[in-house]
């Protein structure tokens, strides 16, 4: 009914601790509330707000991958980190490329 003592699951991630989860949860909560608060209060111009919302989302991505998924740069951790970074490169090319192409298409069709 319980885990044998010699059993370990090497996920290549840091050990999940209460501390890491609480820190991740509080930071995510702050970033989320800030994002929704800024939109609700209309205190900023829309172009500034776009940039800030993007930065808040990217910060929360980093917070959750570090605190919840526990990616790290240790020897084993690199096994998870390198495919993650490669996926980010692919995503940047796909999304950036699509938007670039479609923007030019719209421009040239006008």
């Amino acid at each position: 009914m319980s885990l044998p003592h010699e059993y370990t699951l090497n996920q290549g991630t840091s050990k999940k601790t209460i501390r890491s989860y609480v820190i991740g949860f509080v930071l995510s909560l702050l970033l989320t509330v800030t994002a929704f608060g800024l939109v609700e209060l209309h205190v900023l111009g829309s172009s500034q707000l776009y940039v800030i919302l993007g930065l808040l989302a990217i910060s929360q991505l980093i917070v959750q991958t570090v605190c919840f998924i526990r990616l790290n740069t240790s020897r084993d951790g690199l096994w998870n980190l390198l495919p993650f970074l490669f996926a980010l490169v692919i995503i940047t090319i796909l999304v950036g490329g699509s938007l670039w192409v479609m923007y030019n298409l719209n421009y040239n069709m006008m």
Partner: protein
């Protein structure tokens, strides 16, 4: 015996191949979502004479959905930590809380979809609405699958207790659930908040 099989490749510093394979699946799923985000970003203004997506969005409602999913991500982590402590009742308890919060999220999302549909803003309406429903719906489908998975895992923890197999399955589920919360960050930022700005 099963422990022996599971441990056979932990010599040296090689990480567990199964979990690594699951991680690669998650990354490929991220690429799938990135394509849906790209199509939404291209099409979000093509409303075909209908109302803009901004006018269909209720920011406070989405905020509550976001809170439910974020809290479920946290409680899912707590159940993983209880596995380390070999505390089965707590593992099941936190998994049930996670299930409840995930259920609230899906209930709210389905509710939103149904009211949009009844108001005449269905996916047939325009390219913008099609891409909206595809992106948000695909995320919702993932969460629904995760909920079924979680329900089965709760039963397995009841029957088998904490053993290497259930521990491993919970590790997959926790990874999947964290990934869904990360995708949702970008859904609420790009689909909801940036539309309203």
């Amino acid at each position: 015996m099963s422990t022996h099989i599971l441990n056979q490749h932990t010599a040296g510093s090689s990480i567990d191949k199964d979990v690594f394979g699951f991680w690669l699946y998650i990354l490929s799923d991220c690429i799938l979502f990135s394509v849906l985000f790209a199509s939404f970003s291209v099409l979000h203004e093509n409303v075909y004479g209908g109302v803009k997506i901004a006018e269909l969005v209720n920011v406070r409602y989405v905020f509550l959905e976001t809170m439910a999913l974020l809290m479920s991500s946290f409680t899912c982590g707590l159940s993983v930590i209880e596995v380390y402590r070999n505390n089965r009742p707590k593992v099941i308890q936190w998994l049930l809380v996670t299930f409840l919060l995930g259920g609230i999220f899906i209930y709210m999302e389905v509710n939103e979809f149904i009211s949009l549909y009844l108001e005449g803003h269905s996916w047939h309406g325009s390219a913008a609405l099609s891409s909206f429903f595809t992106l948000v719906g695909t995320h919702g489908l993932h969460v629904t699958v995760g909920l079924f998975w979680m329900a089965i895992l709760v039963i397995q923890f009841f029957v088998y207790g904490i053993c290497p197999a259930t521990y491993k399955r919970l590790s997959y589920l926790a990874l999947f659930w964290a990934f869904l919360d990360i995708i949702w960050i970008f859904v609420f930022t790009i689909v909801y908040l940036m539309e309203v700005v």
